[in-house]
Amino acid sequence: MIRTLPRGPAFALAWCALIWWIASGEPAYCGTITTSRLAQSPRGSAPATAPTETLLVEVRLEGIGAVLVLAESRDDSEVLVLPAAPIFKLVGLREPPVAYMTLEQLRGRLGVAVVWQPRQLALTLLDPNQILPASRARLDRLRATAEGQSGLLFPQGLRGPLFGLTRDDRGATFLDLGYSVGWATLRASRSSVSGRAWQVYVTPLDRVQLSYSEAEHRQRYADVRLALGHTWAAIVYQQPNVEVSGATVMGPLVVFGSTENRYVFTWRGPNTLNVQLGHSGDRSAVSVSFGPLAPSPLMIPGVR
């Protein structure tokens, strides 16, 4: 009796002490714990968001890139104020008229859709009509690359033999054979209508393409195409003529010219305004256009 009685209260005391220690202690790390002490957060009765808070916002221009800016959220996240200079630089514009802009001011100044995603802390600029200089520059680069390619090559990386046989209801046949090693392709064909032909396409460098072809009843053909940033050039030999053509972008001005007495100057102004001055053969033309569908700077304007 003397030995056993103290065990009960001692156990109970220890148990209560354990409960008290758990209930009043610091929270565990990287896990959940439910204590009343944690409810005493520093915010106390503060609002959901601070009246003015500095936010790290990623401003993205689709297809171009992104920049991280320090923005300010004011009036309980109702107003977002952004530094204008890095955003203007991203979209290819010069110095902004003011140092800071709200979302509404940014929409009005840039003329594109501005989507604010507070959960991602991201601001996305959507420019499907290529209004912004950076979007246009990207389009120019894509166009130069596309023009620099003959379009007859296998895509890089694809290789192997090719075979094709076609027969129509006249009984005419066309047989196509070839092989590609990725950077070079050799093709030979035989047509019961147009005769035999063969072509070779070579891409020694990413931005340089060469092709040569010969065919029965047709002139020999060869071309060299180059794409360098915003400039592309092509030299086309079709027996016995040689034509050199090319285009380059100089700010808002795109110049296209050819030794076949064809050229066109395209000035891309603000708000999708385009002015073209072109000449082909013995005819010249001026074109003024407005709207989201900008004319190709490689097409000679004219009345058709």
Partner: protein, 154 residues
Amino acid sequence: MRSGGLGLGARRWLLSALVPAGIALGALITPTDVSWGQVQPIVELKDGYAKTTLWNRSTELLRVSVELRHGEVVDGNVQLGAPVDAIVSPRLFQFGPGETQTLRILVRERLAPGAVLRLVTLFEPVVPETPTKPNEVVTRLDFATRYITKVVAP
């Protein structure tokens, strides 16, 4: 004659102590009131900048506060130190069930290679204060979840 075991008085005393203690413990571990947020355990800084995501895995609106502190491990426990000179964005926000929030961190201090900072994230449920009846007194126990995770400089 009883040579062992507890006496009647001791049993009653023990019972009276165990019952409220058990109730208290049960209330503490009841999962319905846990503020179930989720954070990434380790975030790596790159040129002083890091981006991570917070999740609200609970069924209620949560209020979140975030701060970045120095810290060290002493006897197996993390001891938080002074706040780090950094921009933590956003520092304070709310998000609903199932929502996520991107968190961006920009450290202005020069950190030694391999330095470990502590991101302290506190999740608390947002409970309306208004009583359902006039002159009603509401007693409420708010539970919160605090995570202390690592932010590592390369």
